[in-house]
């Protein structure tokens, strides 16, 4: 049996190969001033916001839920962080930046808790429950920034997205997040209990699983991770743009989760798959820039590639292919008969 990450990884490798064949410098990595540069390194850096959001989305989807509010939470988080930094007397003070980051994450966490409250305690359908915040969140962000796009110049804050420690600092942030979430889910029983709740909520409840708490924590984690994503986004553009921050990211995150092999039906999830899914999307974005696909055509190009990747992974297609080889085999071994192969 093939490993379940086989097709996602194959898709990613193929994408990188195509790029390298088209322009060989795609794969080249150069060292300058003790820093690594190159298209691949850029992909690792730019992946950070989508990666963080998709991690949370994976856990939420595993519980049979969905979190549409992640983009809006990013906007709120960025607005909170920049408002604090902007309001301080010394934007370059490390303490101020740390405070801003912590407060922004806590606010995002609370927004996630709100989603979890609606879903797990009030029993509202996840898509509706998180739609509330998806629509209202950007309004909240605009309230915080008083309707303006708050901009700042703060070296420590900018370091989050553009800083380097041999590799981009943003890369380390998402790796740390992947490791933290991975350890929490798999080193404790949270992962398997989350899957149980996602596969069969009623059986889990009767088995004594605290499904309410597990679902709640998934949304809280998703909120917090979206908050960190919002901070990195704001740091990258040095501004809190309530309308543009994390726009459509919820949809890309869902796509990354599915590309990675986690089913939207909930249950079994794979964080490694999600990482690969995000890298596929990010590589695809770079590919379009790299190959010079005109901006007007890029969504079509993007869609075409995604369709191919999704179809390749379709279990039904795999069954179909197996069916063909299997019936060909059984036809070969059956006694020759005139209409044996004729489909009726």
């Amino acid at each position: 049996m093939k490993h379940r990450l086989f097709w996602p990884v194959a898709a990613l490798v193929t994408l990188i190969l195509i790029n390298t064949i088209a322009r060989s410098q795609f794969a080249s990595i150069t060292v300058r001033d003790g820093r690594l540069y190159g298209a691949l390194i850029d992909i690792l850096r730019q992946s950070a916001p989508l990666m963080l959001v998709s991690l949370g989305m994976t856990i939420v989807i595993a519980t049979r839920g969905i979190d549409l509010s992640v983009g809006a939470v990013m906007a709120v988080s960025g607005a909170v962080a920049l408002t604090i930094i902007d309001g301080s007397s010394d934007p370059n003070n490390l303490g101020v930046v740390l405070l801003a980051v912590v407060v922004a994450i806590v606010v995002s966490l609370l927004l996630g808790v709100w989603n979890g409250f609606l879903v797990s305690l009030l029993g509202i359908q996840p898509i509706i429950a998180t739609l509330v915040l998806m629509l209202a969140g950007r309004g909240v962000a605009l309230l915080i920034t008083e309707g303006f796009i708050t901009t700042v110049n703060s070296t420590p804050f900018e370091f989050l997205s553009t800083g380097y420690l041999l590799l981009p600092f943003a890369f380390f942030i998402w790796v740390a997040a992947v490791v933290a979430v991975g350890l929490t889910e798999r080193r404790t029983a949270l992962g398997v209990l989350t899957e149980a709740v996602g596969i069969n909520p009623e059986a889990s409840r009767l088995a004594g699983v605290r499904s309410r708490g597990i679902i709640w924590s998934a949304y809280a984690a998703s909120g917090a991770l979206a908050g960190i994503a919002g901070i990195i986004y704001a740091s990258n553009i040095k501004a809190a743009d309530a309308n543009a921050a994390g726009q459509f990211i919820e949809l890309y995150a869902i796509l990354a989760v599915v590309l990675g092999g986690t089913s939207l039906m909930g249950g079994k999830f794979t964080l490694a798959g999600t990482v690969v899914g995000v890298l596929i999307i990010q590589t695809l974005e770079s590919t379009m820039l790299f190959l010079g696909v005109p901006p007007a055509e890029s969504p079509v190009f993007f869609a075409a590639v995604v369709v191919v990747v999704v179809v390749i992974q379709s279990p039904r297609l795999h069954r179909f292919m197996r069916g063909i080889t299997r019936s060909a085999r059984s036809r070969g071994s059956a006694e020759p008969s005139e209409d044996a192969g004729v489909a009726i």
Binding site: T188, V192, L193, E202, R205, L206, V209, K268, A334, A343
Partner: protein
Amino acid sequence: MTLPADAATAPIVEMRGITISFPGVLALDNVDFFLRPGEVHSLMGENGAGKSTLIKALTGVYAIDSGSIDVTGTSQVFRGTSDAEAAGISTVYQEINLCTNLSVGENVMLGHEPRKGGRIDWKAVHRLAAEHLEGLGISIDTRSLLSNHSIAIQQLVAISRAMVLDAKVLVLDEPTSSLDRGEVEQLFTVIRDLRAKGAAIIFVSHFLDQVYEIADRITVLRNGKLVGEYLVKDLPRDQLVTKMIGRQLDDLEAISSTAARAIDRTDTPILKATGVGRRGVLEPVDVDVFDGEIVGIAGLLGSGRTELVRLLYGADRADSGNIEVAGTPAKMTSPRHAIDRRIAFSSEDRREEGIVADLTVAENILLGIQARKGLRKIRREKQDSVVSEYMAALDVRPADPDMVAGNLSGGNQQKVLIARWLATAPELLILDEPTRGIDVGTKADLQKKVAELSEQGLSVIFISSELEEVLRLAQRIVVMRDRKSIGGLDSRRFDLDGLIEFIANQGEGSAA
């Protein structure tokens, strides 16, 4: 293999040398199966014997690895269920797959609606549907919503749908598992009628009585291999059972001593429920269970058996009554409260409320203790030892802890569930229909296990539709009817007829 003497009628279906393997399992090994027009043919075997695999090969769900399938003398290769349907093979599955939110007529004619000028002629749809249904002896309003009808009617609607497809072969997979006695009769009348008209019918059921009542011929499978094909009149039941499980079945006799066991009822009961009920669901009921005692709950489907134990377990909330566990009052508003007081509950609905299908057997067994323990993961060695201990104790087959639980047969899923609960070291185990839809051999295994556990001091509440089972295992029986308790009895003083009589008549005039 040699065919019985009356094999003169040319078979309508000839399956020869059918072999199907799944990763690691040879599900069918060179099996022959012949079906003749105008017969009801029963496919018998334990869970995992290969009955459903054979049916799925015939209905085009699975492709066969080797062998041949001939229908009316023509060799067939089924690439999907539609190929099989086109060849005249129609299936009514265990879980009826109809659209309950459509009308009866729409369901009967789905996909075959007569058209007039490019649009569906609804008048004709309902007229034809009514004709098909009347052909089966049922007259209901075809414009009524299917969900408003009983499971039995839905079953018949599914059969009439097969008639629309002009099926020559009708496959009925456990059609009676959720029907009451009268409904079974209705279904059998239809089956006999279809047989008289020359249809070939495959009838799969775990109810031996029903097989002997309706079937003409029996094919027995065991472990994916063909045991043989027999005429029903030539095969006494004990021989059938022996052929199915490959050993003599004296085991059940040994169990019956359990019911006669004396229980010390002077101590504090492990569970004492007084007036537990819920408005519109269950009238207040008293139940008590002592150490090492098996209390049976008998009654027909819908009598309130399940409702009662769900209230005791906290799966649903009671709005009246008190529950004491080992002498101290207990608040049962959630399963967790019950679990904390060492009460375990295995639901009658294995698939929806028991097994977590996509998790492995090991994960399913560990789910109970892990949920109790919280987020701290059970140590690997401890996991392995618990899983192997309980898989061996209950003889879960195949003995592969990493197998996805949803792929196990029903009987083995039930064993996994009991393993899950036993691992939590309960003091009271509530088993709701643990033997439903399970083959004879596994049934005997499970009953033996329950008897054994109770002798070791575990208290059990045991619900079953099969009254023999309840009589065999339980020392005391609570009889339910119409969502209330109509009495508790000592099982030593009742035989089957007495119990049936009690269920049917007790309480009519003398309600306690």
